[in-house]
């Protein structure tokens, strides 16, 4: 019974030092020296000050901006200190009411637009921090943003294109548009 206690205690301590102290410190050291931007959160810096992270979405509700994925974090959407999805089940009436309200808000912001709404614009993301929307979701909003900012749709589409990523290496994942970067660029453009 007790014969294995000594090896248990000593190996536990030594391997804790190795995997719980040395290993994370080594990874931190190498990352901070060679890739400090990424290791520190891929921050977007303007005039020497961080204005957001290109990996963390912000919430937009002003019609002159592109809106991102709905976020279920509390107490405010896109709370990057407490990530969360909605966890609403597919037949939960609360989910259907939420989607209905989001469709309505998009329609109210752009009454002339009768297209079907791309699903990612009205469903909450898994993290509550999704920085991206689909190209379909930017196309749906494009006429609205162009009109409110007095931009030609083609010029705006070009700007959107600059913030659109295809599949990684042409294969992995899905095409997407970074909403915060796009909106920051919009504010610079106009």
């Amino acid at each position: 019974m007790l014969k294995e206690l000594r090896p248990a205690v000593i190996s536990f301590l030594l391997l804790t030092l190795l995997t719980g102290i040395a290993y994370p410190l080594l990874v931190t050291g190498i990352s901070q020296v060679t890739m400090s931007d990424k290791a520190n959160g891929s921050l977007i810096v303007k005039d020497g000050k961080p204005v957001g992270s290109s990996l963390i979405g912000q919430s937009f509700s002003d019609p002159k901006y592109f809106w991102g994925r709905p976020s279920a974090t509390g107490p405010v959407p896109n709370n990057a200190g407490a990530s969360s999805g909605s966890n609403l089940g597919p037949t939960n009436p609360v989910l259907l009411d939420a989607v209905k309200a989001r469709v309505q808000a998009l329609r109210d912001a752009d009454p002339g637009n009768q297209q079907a709404v791309p699903v990612d614009l009205v469903t909450a993301s898994a993290s509550g921090l999704d920085p991206h929307i689909s190209p379909a979701a930017t196309e749906y909003q494009l006429a609205r943003v162009a009109r409110l900012r007095n931009l030609s749709p083609d010029a705006l589409r070009k700007l959107v294109g600059e913030h659109t990523e295809g599949r990684q290496f042409g294969i992995l994942g899905e095409p997407r548009v970074n909403v915060l970067e796009l909106n920051l660029a919009l504010d610079v453009a106009r």
């Binding site: 090896p7 931190t28 901070q32 912000q58 107490p75 909605s86 966890n87 609403l88 597919p90 994942g173």
Partner: protein, 601 residues
């Protein structure tokens, strides 16, 4: 459709191509024939044994092997519990988090030691950086290494004959850690940082919001009680939020071993859906690959160590076929979307412009293909990391993870635990075949006798007892029902998922379910412990029994266990045992919900 096929084929292609080199390397490590590129570490390994008082040449009987694994795990529980309770006084706590509650600490300690990594807590508002890296990350290594050691002991049981011993736990566990888990994790962590996973010890970063936000909160009086107006309604005040506080931490180092060790406990609450844990599709690809690489490789290690690699390929083929079947259901269900959304004027069709499908609880960069793929992988293995919220899956999409966990996570499975689970099913399969033709069953030249079948039966029967018994109990009690988040049949699925995930040591959840209560912290804490050690001990007993047997040469009457026929028999055995046990419960949860969903129109 092309997108689906290309991404899945690439994933499976890379995985299966790596299974042999990985498996070959692991076999060399466990047999002590280290390849040259790691042999320089051997003197350090030997010094380590001397410090620990371990004679690396001395082998153990199964009882002593089990005792060593238990002591090691017990120390882990104490250390993780203590670190959480004491973190307020310890360094590397820039957010100043206080002690974690005792029942939550208890649950988390058991959960991480058993390779479950169920998270009842919200990481970024609960755990200090020191707790994350020196308690939780450490158990990510140790629980994986323990699982790998046990499967190697079982493989030795098949490979050896007429001997009392099955190896030395300390040697197997140490080699798993320093030659396999640690080097791969280090490389993987650095690649992940290159993709954008954070790795720092900074306080949370505040950035200005482009559009400020506001919310209402209850107004409190001087003594902290909520104020009420004359009509008795709560008085609220408006809070304006102008900044976003972005959680940080040493994430990449935990992320790497979290996947590689099929642990699955996220640094953040949103786990692998969080952009700082899983920022790009390539990071996601590596995550999925590292979940399956050791379980797939171990199949080859098994074949190599028993002296017939075809035996390993047969097991791997069974796992792959089962996996593809489950994956097809999940992809189909999630891409099909939610019929109620279409009625609201929502476009769920896949196109070049969007992934479409049921996007509730999914991230845009992963879309449907990589969300359903990840969900199938993480529950085929005992990983439990999630890059999408399983609670928001369509009923059939959510049934896939649930059913895979209930089958015992033998489709690839957890590191070590998956293969030992599948080998137990193989023992049951040859037993069934033996019954049909009236011969004493044998597997790999070992006669399977009454004691072996008893141990195998324990491994098969204990999990359903805990899952179904626990779910039934919880569904009858007020404290059990009060944690349910979604109404109707989905609520029962949440309870079933919680007990399945805990007992299966998976750790994923239908996460709307409020599991951080004294009742569930205790009940699920018990379930993770029983689901781990009540299975591990019979497996080690089986290993000891097999090692002691004579090897009998194959005769014309022996059933070949490397043929397509055996692959099929094994698949049918897994599905039949699982189906007979869990179909009634699944019918009351996901199946009813599916019928409700499609009957909306």
């Amino acid at each position: 459709m092309i997108n689906l096929f290309v991404q899945v084929a690439l994933y499976l292609g890379v995985l299966l191509a790596l299974a042999k080199p990985m498996g070959y390397y692991m076999a060399r490590v466990y047999e002590g024939k280290l390849p040259a590129f790691v042999r320089w570490m051997q003197p350090a390994e030997n010094i380590f044994y001397r410090l620990c008082g371990v004679d690396s040449k001395q082998e153990m009987r199964w009882t002593r092997y089990a005792m060593a694994a238990l002591w090691f795990s017990l120390l882990g529980v104490l250390a993780v519990y203590a670190m959480q309770r004491l973190q307020g006084w310890l360094p590397l706590n820039p957010q100043g988090f206080g002690a974690v509650s005792s029942d939550s600490s208890f649950n988390t300690a058991l959960s991480f030691v058993t390779n479950t990594n169920w998270q009842g807590y919200v990481g970024e508002t609960t755990m200090s950086y020191l707790t994350q890296m020196s308690a939780l990350t450490v158990q990510n290594f140790f629980s994986a290494a323990t699982g790998m050691a046990v499967v190697i002991a079982l493989i030795r049981g098949f490979a050896r004959h007429t001997t009392e011993t099955i190896g030395n736990f300390w040697v197997d566990m140490t080699r798993s850690t320093i030659y396999i888990l640690l080097p791969i994790s280090t490389v993987l962590a650095l690649v992940l940082v290159g993709q954008g996973v954070v790795q720092n010890f900074s306080a949370y970063q505040n950035v200005p919001l482009v559009e400020s936000l506001s919310y209402e909160q209850p107004k409190l009086d001087a003594s902290g009680n909520p104020l009420k107006d004359a009509a008795g309604n709560a008085v609220t005040e408006k809070v304006v939020v102008k900044e976003q506080s972005i959680a940080m931490g040493p994430v990449a180092s935990q992320e790497a071993i979290k996947q590689l060790g099929t642990n699955g406990g996220g640094f953040f609450n949103a786990n692998s859906a969080h952009p700082f844990e899983n920022p790009t599709p390539f990071a996601n690809f590596l995550a999925m690959l590292s979940i399956f690489i050791i379980p797939a490789g171990l199949c080859y290690t098994f074949g190599s160590m028993v002296g017939d690699t075809r035996q390993g390929w047969a097991i791997l083929a069974s796992m792959t076929l089962l996996f593809v079947g489950f994956l097809a259901v999940a992809e189909y269900a999630e891409q099909g979307g939610n019929p109620a959304f279409t009625a609201l004027g929502v476009d769920q069709n896949a196109s070049a412009m969007q992934s479409g499908g049921n996007m509730e609880g999914k991230e845009t960069r992963f879309g449907i293909v990589n969300s359903a793929l990840f969900a199938t992988i993480t529950t085929a293995a005992s990983c439990g990391a999630v890059n999408s919220m399983h609670d928001s899956f369509t009923p059939l999409g959510g049934l896939v993870p649930l059913a895979q966990i209930q089958l015992g996570e033998v489709v690839f499975g957890g590191v070590g635990s998956g293969l030992y689970g599948m080998l137990v099913y193989a023992v049951i399969a040859v037993f069934l075949a033996g019954l049909m033709i009236g011969r004493t069953p044998e597997y790999l030249g070992k006669k399977i006798e009454a004691f072996d079948i008893k141990m195998a039966s324990l491994v098969i029967l204990i999990p359903p007892l805990i899952i179904l018994g626990g779910s039934a109990l919880a569904a009858m009690l007020d404290v059990g029902r009060s944690s349910i988040y979604n109404p109707g049949a989905h609520g029962l699925s949440e309870v079933l998922y919680a007990f399945s995930s805990a007992t299966g040591n998976n750790g994923s959840a239908f996460a709307g379910f409020g599991a951080n209560t004294p009742f569930y912290n205790t009940a699920l804490g018990f379930a993770v412990w029983a689901g781990r050690f009540w299975l591990m001990i019979p497996v080690l007993a089986l290993a000891g029994s097999l090692a002691a047997k004579k090897r009998i040469p194959a005769s014309v009457g022996s059933m070949a266990t490397h043929t397509p026929l055996f692959v099929w028999l094994l698949i049918v055995t897994v599905l039949l045992v699982g189906a007979l046990t869990f179909v009634p419960a699944l019918a009351l949860g996901p199946v009813i919900e599916h019928l409700n969903m499609i009957s909306v129109h």
